[in-house]
């Protein structure tokens, strides 16, 4: 087993990997940019090295600097987390060349999956079902028209190097194809420096369901069940759950076996995820493979009872899978909410800043993977993901109940977050009935926020607003109510706060 691992990431995922290292008795090495010295992953690490300016290319994307830290610290392995360098084959190769173990698949497997067109070709050979269309970049508008006619409109144009919806166009009718193709190509060129675009039949209101796979370095590959990831906004996942409400034992087995075939076709090792589109008739089509740990891996951990990061590390250290496919059991139901620093009053635009107050939920069935803390200044330079709140239950209803309860306990002061959005999602009848598709969230956000506000709660807000105004700055010192005055004697409390405030300012 490794003695020391470098975590080439920041935020909640860096913290999550550092915790796994400590749980396994491994020293954790953090790297940080200029704006991250006070970040949680630096507080929790055993060693911490500055690697430069806030801009990712100066720090978290800078392969040379990270390898240099690995050398100086004597780390034996690197965990890339997700994002940043996690799916960068060049980095995986550079680690190997430097004699560092990259905790993830080989560079070759990444290459095989990195280009969506090349992946499709490999999958064709492996007999994996995928959405009808081209497995190669389009040479001409004529070819595009010919393929679109064959698979039937509507069709989807996608960038071969794509991701995050960049270079994607939905085409409803032949007359729109030309401009859409040009738009997709130039956007792909701008975003990825690669204008290659291919065409697929568009699946309307599909579900996005992905299968977790795990492979050791001795040819043993297993699947750990699926995740339902249909709730997305701007092609970003917002809520994920496991198992998928529409997947039964048989469908899970069939999807799982396809996912294992995909992984084996690519000579895949360590943890990976095979994404599928599922249509109304529950036909599933291979979409792509994510060659990294997913943000939403906790829901799989909760329903399988496994720790994917521990297993990633063991596999990278050369251990065999400690269980077989038939040992994997799905029990209960888990749902994850991604807590973002986003402004619900401003179209969920990112909202960094200083966290002045943090009330964090806990209790039965609640897991919280967080990268924030009270007093921390959320930098404006990176992804707005602050934390993940995951609810587990014996069944889906209990998971929803526990998660709703926990969300009502969650509060982040000083910045704005999307916490209030999850309340709307979790109470929505369609969500309760698990009627999910990738269009759900956009439809929900178009619905006018329930106009009729609970009048009682509104009056409570009125009174509280007044009291906060009366207490004013005294509110900045925590009261000593219980020891002072008679119970329920709020004025006694207030004067107390005042006293406390004075005392503190005397420092």
């Amino acid at each position: 087993m490794f003695n020391k691992i470098l975590i080439a990431n920041r935020g909640e995922i860096a913290v999550r990997v550092i915790r796994a290292c400590h749980e396994m008795g491994i020293a954790a090495v953090a790297v940080y940019s200029d704006v991250d010295r006070a970040s949680l992953h630096v507080r929790k690490a055993d060693e911490a090295y500055p690697i430069g300016a806030a801009a990712a290319k100066e720090s978290y994307l800078n392969i040379a600097k990270i390898l240099d830290v690995a050398q100086r610290s004597g780390a034996e392995a690197v965990h890339p987390g997700y994002g940043f360098l996690s799916e960068n084959a060049k980095f995986a190769r550079a680690c190997a060349d430097a004699g560092l173990k990259f905790i993830g698949p080989t560079a070759a497997a990444m290459d095989a999956m990195g280009s969506k067109t090349r992946a499709r070709q490999a999958m064709e050979r492996a007999g994996v079902p995928f959405v009808p269309g081209t497995s190669r970049g389009l040479e001409s508008l004529e070819q595009a028209e010919e393929v679109a006619a064959r698979v039937g409109y509507p069709v989807m144009l996608k960038a071969a190097a794509g991701g995050g919806g960049k270079g994607m166009r939905l085409v409803a009718a032949p007359r729109d194809l030309k401009s859409a193709l040009e738009g997709a190509r130039s956007e792909a060129e701008r975003s990825f420096g690669d204008s290659e675009v291919y065409i697929e039949k568009a699946i309307l209101n599909p579900r996005h369901i992905e299968m977790q796979v795990l492979a050791d370095e001795y040819g043993n590959t297993v699947y750990l069940g699926e995740r339902e990831c249909s709730l997305q906004r701007r092609h970003q996942k917002v809520v994920e759950e496991a198992p998928s409400p529409i997947v039964d034992l048989d469908m899970r087995r069939r999807m799982g076996e396809v996912a294992v075939r995909v992984a084996q076709a690519a000579g895949y090792t360590n943890a990976g995820t095979v994404e599928f589109l599922v249509d109304q008739e529950k036909n599933f089509y291979f979409l792509e493979m994510n060659t990294r740990l997913q943000v939403e891996h906790p829901v799989t951990e909760l329903v399988t009872g496994l720790d994917l990061v521990h297993l990633q590390i063991r596999i990278a250290a050369g251990e065999r899978l400690p269980f077989r496919q038939e040992d994997v059991q799905i029990r209960g139901h888990a749902i994850e909410c991604r807590i973002y620093a986003e402004d619900p009053d401003n179209n969920y635009f990112p909202s960094p800043g200083k966290i002045t107050l943090l009330l964090a939920p806990s209790g039965p069935g609640i897991r919280r993977d967080s990268g924030m803390y009270e007093g921390w200044n959320v930098p404006m330079d990176y992804d707005p993901l602050l934390a993940k709140l995951i609810g587990y239950g014996t069944d889906r209803d209990q998971a929803i109940g526990r998660l709703s309860r926990a969300l009502s306990e969650y509060f982040v002061g000083g910045i704005k977050t999307n916490i209030s959005l999850f309340r709307r999602i979790l109470r929505h009848p369609e969500f309760r009935q698990a009627k999910l598709d990738t269009g759900f969230l956009d439809r929900l956000l178009k619905e006018k926020e329930e106009v009729q506000t609970d009048p009682q709660a509104a009056e409570v807000a009125v009174i509280a607003a007044g009291m906060f105004a009366v207490l004013g700055p005294a509110g900045a010192s925590v009261g000593e109510q219980t020891q002072a005055g008679t119970p329920g004697d709020a004025s006694g409390n207030v004067s107390n706060w005042k006293r406390t405030a004075l005392r503190e300012s005397r420092h």
């Binding site: 506000t453 409570v460 925590v478 409390n493």
Partner: protein, 164 residues
């Protein structure tokens, strides 16, 4: 103490006072029995009658929101003796300030000082966390002043420009 409190657009007249160690409270003239404890800064444990509520106060860039459980209300509070109240009401007529909704970097300024703008026209673009946000003019008018420059870092609530 008397306040005009607006919650999600509807306004209430609130009278709050303390005597003999109790709060007394009237909403639109109606007496309400309240008992309050400040559990943490910006967190009130309220009893209204025997009903219990935890209320959290969210203050970001001049905006005020109150959370009752997981319900979030936008709130405005006016009080003749409070500065904030005054400036607020002042805002309603005359020149309008364009403020930064969140900390970020000004990446583009789309108009020049003195230019005429339509209501809703983009005035400048602020970037944070890899996303760009266009700040629009709240009214038809003239850009009286631009108080920032391209590349500048701004905080939530900073005034970026004034339209009159």
């Amino acid at each position: 103490m008397t306040y005009d409190v607006t919650i999600d657009g509807r306004s209430y007249r609130l009278e709050l006072s303390q005597a003999e160690g109790r709060w007394s409270c009237r909403i639109d003239g109606r007496e309400v029995a309240v008992d309050a404890v400040l559990a943490r800064p910006d967190v009130l444990s309220l009893r209204i009658g025997d009903q219990a509520f935890e209320v959290k106060c969210e203050r970001v860039g001049g905006e005020l929101h109150l959370w009752v459980g997981s319900q979030r209300f936008s709130a405005e509070i006016r009080d003749p003796r409070s500065l904030r109240g005054r400036s607020r009401s002042a805002d309603d007529q005359g020149p309008k300030k364009l403020t930064a909704p969140m900390p970020g970097k000004v990446v583009r300024i789309l108009v020049t000082q003195g230019a005429d703008v339509e209501a809703g026209a983009g005035v400048l673009v602020v970037e944070a966390m890899k996303m760009q946000n266009e700040i629009k003019s709240p009214k038809k008018g003239t850009i009286q002043r631009i108080l920032t420059e391209e590349g500048a870092a701004v905080n939530a609530g900073d005034v970026l420009a004034i339209v009159e």
